[in-house]
């Protein structure tokens, strides 16, 4: 690549790299310590009550994913907060994941935190990952109210709620969440989030937002959910 790279042209960044190279790092712990810790995470995750709900947000408000679980146990974070989302564990046993649509979503972090709740996910911004054929079983994993799975309604009207059941995710599949900022079409200026299942070993990702029906090509009304939020209602 021939374009100018601030990295190579910056003595400050080179000095930073050199400064840290001179700091002695802590001794790497034994691999067994890491895997033991990971196993304890798995045990806590499997003991959580399965279930999560996702609510589409109206203009200017947040997308809410509600996770029902026995959280608040020792070692399980009561609150995880980033600029783009927050997970809060409540005293009544429910947990909410709030996505802030005014901040760019942090896909890898959201994936990691969803994984803690037993939800394997592929989260992407500006793209959506899909499989061909679409895996079966979406309706058992994700349910919605009031309209049921399928195309969501625009921002006006009642907010849709989506519930995710981690225990119903078919083996070999993952939840694919694609988040788009729409710049053209009838919903330009709005944010779109699509939820589908993918074959974890065989999927492709496209940067083209699903158009008609808000679901990706190859996914029928029972195979996914699309949400529109943010922007201006009625536009």
């Amino acid at each position: 690549m021939s374009r100018t790279d601030p990295m190579t042209d910056s003595p400050e960044l080179r000095e930073l790299q050199e400064a840290m190279s001179g700091v002695a790092m802590p001794v790497r712990p034994p691999l067994e310590a890491i895997t033991t810790r990971g196993r304890s995470h798995r045990r806590r995750r499997l003991s959580a009550v399965a279930g999560a709900s996702v609510a589409g947000a109206a203009a200017g408000t947040a997308l809410i994913l509600g996770l029902t679980g026995l959280l608040g146990h020792a070692g399980v974070p009561k609150e995880v907060k980033t600029a783009s989302f927050m997970i809060v564990s409540h005293a009544n046993g429910t947990d909410t994941l709030t996505i802030n649509p005014s901040e760019l979503l942090n896909p890898s972090q959201l994936e990691g935190d969803l994984a803690q709740y037993g939800i394997p996910a592929e989260v992407t911004t500006g793209s959506i990952c899909t499989s061909d054929p679409a895996p079966a079983g979406f309706a058992q994993v994700v349910s919605s109210s009031p309209a049921g799975p399928g195309t969501a309604t625009p921002t006006s009207g009642a907010q849709p709620t989506i519930t995710i059941d981690p225990s119903a995710i078919p083996a070999g599949t993952e939840l694919s969440i694609g988040d788009f900022q729409l710049s053209s079409g009838p919903n330009a200026g709005e944010q779109q989030a699509d939820f589908v299942l993918i074959d974890a070993s065989s999927y492709t990702c496209s940067s083209t937002p699903p158009s008609s029906g808000i679901l990706p090509s190859g996914y029928g009304p029972d195979d996914g959910i699309g949400l529109l939020y943010g922007g201006q209602s009625g536009s």
Partner: protein
């Protein structure tokens, strides 16, 4: 050991140092960085099938560690100020981390600091950094340029040259 397990073991062995270095540069706390990164590797182990396919697994570790640290601080209700940047003030004994340059890195806005850490310590190019953060490559370059300008300014104030003191 299965192929998956050996793959994780190799990744852990090769990535521990650079990941701790990246997190420590961002937080200024080597002991906390060690804890955060260990937690991130444990999480990666539970989701290794996914993390191993991530385009930049080390970046996954570092970002998970930094976010684990943010929640860790809130749970512990530490008194150290977070300065609105989700970064803890450096703890005592963080030898080598108390330089003016590293302090300046910790004062960068969160996104700029993130871009600097990914570029400098994980050797991610602009395109990979952009994909990791879900932003445009041009935005990465803009953040990097602003960060460099901020670091340069901070260092100039911390280490004024003789020219700044020429009597007139």
């Amino acid at each position: 050991m299965s192929k998956d397990e050996s793959g994780f073991a190799e990744f852990f062995q090769e990535s521990w140092d650079p990941c701790v270095r990246a997190v420590a540069a961002s937080t200024g706390d080597l002991l906390l960085a060690e804890e955060q990164v260990a937690e991130a590797f444990a999480r990666a182990w539970t989701a290794w099938r996914k993390v191993s396919r991530h385009p930049a697994p080390r970046a996954w570790i570092v970002r998970t560690a930094l976010n684990a640290g943010a929640s860790w601080w809130r749970r512990r209700s530490r008194e150290l100020p977070l300065d609105g940047h989700d970064v803890a003030a450096p703890s005592k004994g963080a030898a080598g981390l108390d330089t003016a340059l590293l302090a300046a890195v910790r004062r960068l806005p969160g996104r700029q600091r993130e871009v600097v850490v990914l570029r400098v310590f994980l050797d991610l190019d602009v395109e990979a950094t952009a994909r990791e953060l879900g932003i445009a490559p041009g935005t990465v370059r803009a953040h990097l340029s602003r960060a460099v300008a901020a670091l340069r300014s901070e260092l100039a104030h911390a280490n004024p040259t003789e020219a700044d003191h020429v009597p007139h």
